[in-house]
């Protein structure tokens, strides 16, 4: 045992679990007095989000043996964060969350290094994400979860028997809360269901029909949404509504009150107006603490193997008494994100341009603004402009040749997916198989399945 007998150790409590063998540990676990050092030397953890969950996660991970953390968040601190995002003070309002959070934790806990990234998650290249041993999510949006999920699944490779290659599995730990309720889950791409496999757990929000707002309002929320979605555009031609501008909010509130009075509908308040317009999800410190702690604990166990882990979805509900439940969800074998990849058969003559065009209409993909990579090489990149210019000449070459004339291989594509009014960035893995690899030219055959 290192030096625990003579010198008092900072990590005395963690060492009990890391240094001692046990019967209920992961199969790969080797008790070792070098564990803390190894974590420092070899492990980098990315925390996505520096809000209610993110602040807690940084603290929890820093006190769970992790010394190298990165945190990414594009938001700035607001007054309404202060009831739970405990790393922020009144004087921090307006500063980037990621930067303040990183600074505060490093000031308190010596030996921890946290690199903040004040930007959008989509702005980072794939290489950025590949650097981390594990990614922990403290987010409140489905789109952001979906994006990180597709990135992590993008690293996954399958062997020739369609089994996931263990070294390419990038674990994700995801938490979410709403009021007294929350969830924590572990995603091992290719092994446990990914975010997309169980997307039905997050049904889209129901919106009010416009005709209700315009013709038969009944509730305060209807009056508010009328002012916000219909009246604003009628009055402010061309000027878009900014939910963070208090004058705009006040205007919507005043109009909603007028409409409510006209129809005899009670209950329009300024607070409700903000809640409806910004779709505010109530949030409290205790639930964030519970869910983040569960996520940090799972992160520690996954990386060190010092205990078995959650399999694979935990729900917490403190509304009526206390209910916790573990559900072992199963993977969707056909999942386009974490599966072996969407199979696409192409003629050897198909150019990169035709191939990219065909993805737009592929029913499982519907991808636009596509960039293509093959085995670490950029075949075509939409951005930045310099890369676009460099890769543009490839567009008119046959994909078969660009891929080194292999009959069958994986390409990764990134782009915008979904229907016209609801597009989001994503990355997808495609299994390309070339028909008639002896090369029969037929320029009329567009690729695609």
């Amino acid at each position: 045992m290192a030096n625990s007998a003579t010198q008092p150790s900072r990590t005395k409590d963690l060492e009990k679990l890391f240094h001692r063998p046990g019967p209920l540990v992961a199969a790969t676990f080797e008790a070792s007095s070098e564990m803390i050092n190894d974590l420092k030397e070899y492990v980098k953890v990315l925390v996505v989000g520096a809000g209610g969950l993110g602040c807690e996660l940084l603290k929890d991970l820093a006190l769970s043996g992790f010394s190298n953390l990165d945190v990414i968040d594009m938001d700035r601190i607001e007054v309404t964060n202060l009831n739970r995002q405990f790393l922020f003070r009144v004087e921090d309002v307006g500063k980037p969350k990621a930067e303040v959070a990183a600074k505060r934790v490093m000031e308190r806990i010596s030996g921890v290094n946290i690199t903040p990234h004040f930007c959008r998650i989509e702005d980072k290249p794939m290489e950025f994400y590949s650097d981390f041993s594990i990614i922990v999510l403290g987010l409140d949006s489905i789109e952001a979860r979906s994006f990180i999920n597709s990135v992590a699944c993008g690293f996954l490779e399958y062997d020739s028997d369609d089994n996931p290659v263990p070294e390419t599995v990038k674990p994700l730990v995801d938490g979410g809360t709403e009021g007294f309720k929350g969830h924590a889950r572990v995603i091992l791409p290719g092994i446990t269901p990914c975010f997309e496999c169980t997307i039905w757990l997050f049904p889209p929000q129901v919106k009010f029909p416009l005709c209700t707002l315009a013709e038969t309002p009944r509730t305060a929320a209807h009056c508010i949404e009328y002012a916000h979605l219909i009246k604003w555009d009628e009055v402010h031609s061309g000027k878009s509504f900014d939910p963070d501008d208090p004058d705009h909010m006040q205007w919507v509130y005043t109009e909603a009150v007028k409409r409510a009075e006209l129809f005899g509908i009670p209950g329009v308040t300024y607070s409700l107006t903000q809640g409806v317009v910004k779709n505010i999800i109530p949030a409290i410190a205790s639930t964030n603490a519970i869910i983040s702690a569960a996520c940090a604990l799972e992160t520690m166990k996954i990386i060190t193997g010092c205990s078995k882990t959650l399999s694979n979805y935990l729900t917490y509900n403190g509304v009526e008494g206390l209910h916790t439940k573990v559900t072992d969800f199963v993977r969707d074998k056909e999942c386009p994100v974490c599966g072996p990849g969407v199979l696409i058969e192409l003629d050897t003559s198909v150019t990169l341009r035709k191939f990219i065009d065909s993805l737009k209409d592929h029913p499982n993909l519907l991808l636009t603004r596509v960039s293509v990579r093959h085995r670490g090489t950029n075949l075509y990149m939409q951005a930045p402009p310099i890369l676009e210019e460099q890769t543009r000449p490839f567009l008119d070459q046959p994909l078969f040749e660009l891929m080194g004339k292999t009959r069958k291989d994986i390409v990764s594509v990134t782009g915008m997916a979904g229907k016209a009014d609801n597009k989001q960035s994503c990355s997808r893995k495609l299994r390309i198989v070339f028909k008639g690899a002896d090369g029969v030219a037929d320029m009329d055959t567009a690729g695609g399945a």
């Binding site: 900072r10 001692r20 046990g22 019967p23 202060l82 739970r84 007294f180 038969t216 206390l322």
Partner: protein, 527 residues
């Protein structure tokens, strides 16, 4: 200083101004400020509790730096209570933060009256016999108590209050109080003014489903000797016929109100009268009130009289309706009819409250209208939680429950941890250290812990049961470690329970929560 209303906006949306006011009035005492304690308080300080008092007799050691966020290197050698208190204060200057450098055990022995000044005591990392003593003190002083403990990958949270009554339990899913199968005269006559067979398609598709269902139920009753279905077969038949009836009335496929009526037709079978839970509350001996009764029970006594008289077996009407497809006018009018009935019910209950207060010799206006109204609005959702004393649970746990949980494969770990958390305290009492606290003598500790656990099972009447050996070894491996992530989880749960107890909103957990930090199959044990 940020405007408090804005700062607390996200939580005011959950517990409102009243809940916040209760928090701001509360004074909380924390015993032991290791990570479990400091994390519990952190969440309460952020939320804006009135005051905190941190009690701990230890000095900060180097090992505290590895699991407690509320100390840093400059604190080593200083009072832990003082350091944690200072760092907690930084989170919210609206909270009054105090500390007392004294061991909780000593305070419990020498100064039991100390605890009576607090609204609630959070007691962390206490061993069994100290828990029992503190529980007795707090019960006598009517101070709410929450125990929290983290131990390796396990831990527990346990509330202890003689009686906790909740008016605003705010359940997630609760059947709307619509009285579709039992409409009162005003609702019935309002329905009569509406013609389902109107030839105006716009009016037809804007008739709210409440009216559709009330009218169809009446039609059914007319053709079935005046009553709604009662037997199971009749109900089945009605369900089929009812949906057909509704379908037949549709004139166009896009009539959302008729679709809603089909989906809501099960609401016609909302049981009449009050639920067994409410029945239990009005039959509680506390509902026989005297001058010493709390306001809650006085209002419940009035509620009981109301149900037996004006209510004709029903609780006061809640008075709100869900949103439904409708013209604005019909919806607003319907809302008014529900509100008027709720107001009338409230006035009847209020009269009874005033009479009862007079009868028991109290000022008849000593209970506010708002309070009575709140009980009326939530009459179907009232909750009374009573907790066994720790002493009773420890000496005579509910055997059947314990036995059942020990053998339930899914939860045998959590229940095993419950036994072992008690066994390690006996171990510590016998051997002056926790099992596995030191690296030497692990094998001996395992066998000692095992024999203590076996005798403990015997003491609580579970002789036949045994614990999984792996779990005993695991418990020794933990060596009383207080891991930060586990402490933050346990502290988070404890703080959430504190908030429910202080705001008197939502329902606090009953029993003892046992964390299973291995696979998270945790368990709530009602012992």
């Amino acid at each position: 200083m940020a405007e408090p209303k804005t700062k607390y906006d996200r939580q005011l949306r959950i517990w409102g101004e009243q809940g916040q006011a209760a928090l701001e009035k509360a004074s909380i005492c924390l015993l032991n400020c290791g990570p479990t304690g400091s994390e519990t308080l952190k969440n309460l300080v952020l939320g804006g509790v009135g005051s905190i008092t941190v009690v701990d007799g230890c000095k900060v050691e180097v090992s505290d730096l590895g699991n407690n966020y509320f100390v840093d290197e400059s604190c080593v050698g200083q009072s832990k209570a003082k350091c944690v208190c200072t760092f907690l204060q930084e989170l919210n200057d609206a909270v009054k933060a105090k500390f007392i450098e004294e061991s909780p055990e000593a305070l419990i022995e020498t100064n039991p009256s100390f605890f009576s000044e607090f609204t609630l005591v959070v007691a962390t990392q206490l061993v069994e016999d100290t828990m029992v003593k503190l529980d007795r003190i707090c019960r006598d002083a009517n101070v709410m108590l929450v125990f929290a403990r983290s131990y390796g990958l396990t831990g527990l949270v346990r509330n202890s209050v003689k009686e906790h009554t909740v008016i605003e339990s705010k359940p997630d899913h609760f059947l709307d109080d619509l009285r579709l199968n039992n409409p009162w005269p005003q609702l019935r006559s309002f329905a009569e003014t509406i013609d389902l067979d109107t030839s105006d398609p716009v009016v037809h598709k804007h008739t709210p489903y409440v009216i559709i269902l009330v009218k169809l139920a009446e039609e059914w009753a007319k053709s079935h000797s005046g009553s709604l279905p009662s037997s199971r077969d009749e109900k089945k038949q009605f369900k089929v016929e009812d949906v057909e009836l509704i379908k037949a009335r549709m004139v166009a496929m896009d009539e959302d109100n008729y679709k809603e009526a089909m989906e809501a037709s099960f609401k016609l079978f909302a049981p009449r009268g009050i639920s067994s839970e409410v029945q239990k509350i009005i039959n509680d001996s506390c509902a026989e009130v005297d001058s010493g009764s709390s306001d809650f029970w006085v209002i419940v006594a009035a509620l009981k009289e109301f149900i037996a008289n004006e209510g004709e077996g029903e609780a006061p009407l809640e008075g709100s309706i869900p949103d439904m497809t409708s013209s604005t006018e019909l919806y607003v009018n319907l809302q008014k009819i529900y509100q008027a009935k709720a107001e009338a019910d409230f006035l009847a209950v209020e009269r009874r409250v005033r009479d009862i207060l007079k009868r028991i010799g109290r000022d008849p206006y000593s209970i506010t209208k708002a309070n009575i109204k709140s009980v009326c609005k939530n009459a179907r959702k009232l909750r009374v939680c009573r907790y066994r004393s720790i002493e009773d649970e420890f000496s005579t746990p509910v055997q059947a429950e314990l036995q059942k949980c020990l053998t339930d494969e899914e939860y045998s770990y959590a229940t095993g941890f419950y036994i072992l958390l008690r066994a390690v305290d006996r171990f510590a009492a016998n051997y002056n250290s926790f099992p596995g606290q030191f690296d030497s003598g692990m094998d001996e500790d395992i066998s000692r812990l095992k024999s203590i656990a076996v005798s403990l099972l015997g003491d609580v009447g579970c002789n036949g049961s045994s614990l999984i050996d792996d779990l005993i070894s695991e418990m020794c491996r933990y060596g009383a470690a207080e891991l930060h992530a586990v402490a933050a989880l346990i502290g988070g749960i404890a703080s959430q329970e504190v908030i429910k107890l202080i705001t008197r909103q939502f329902v606090p957990m009953r029993g003892t929560f046992i964390l299973n930090g291995i696979d998270h199959k945790s368990q709530l044990l009602l012992l």
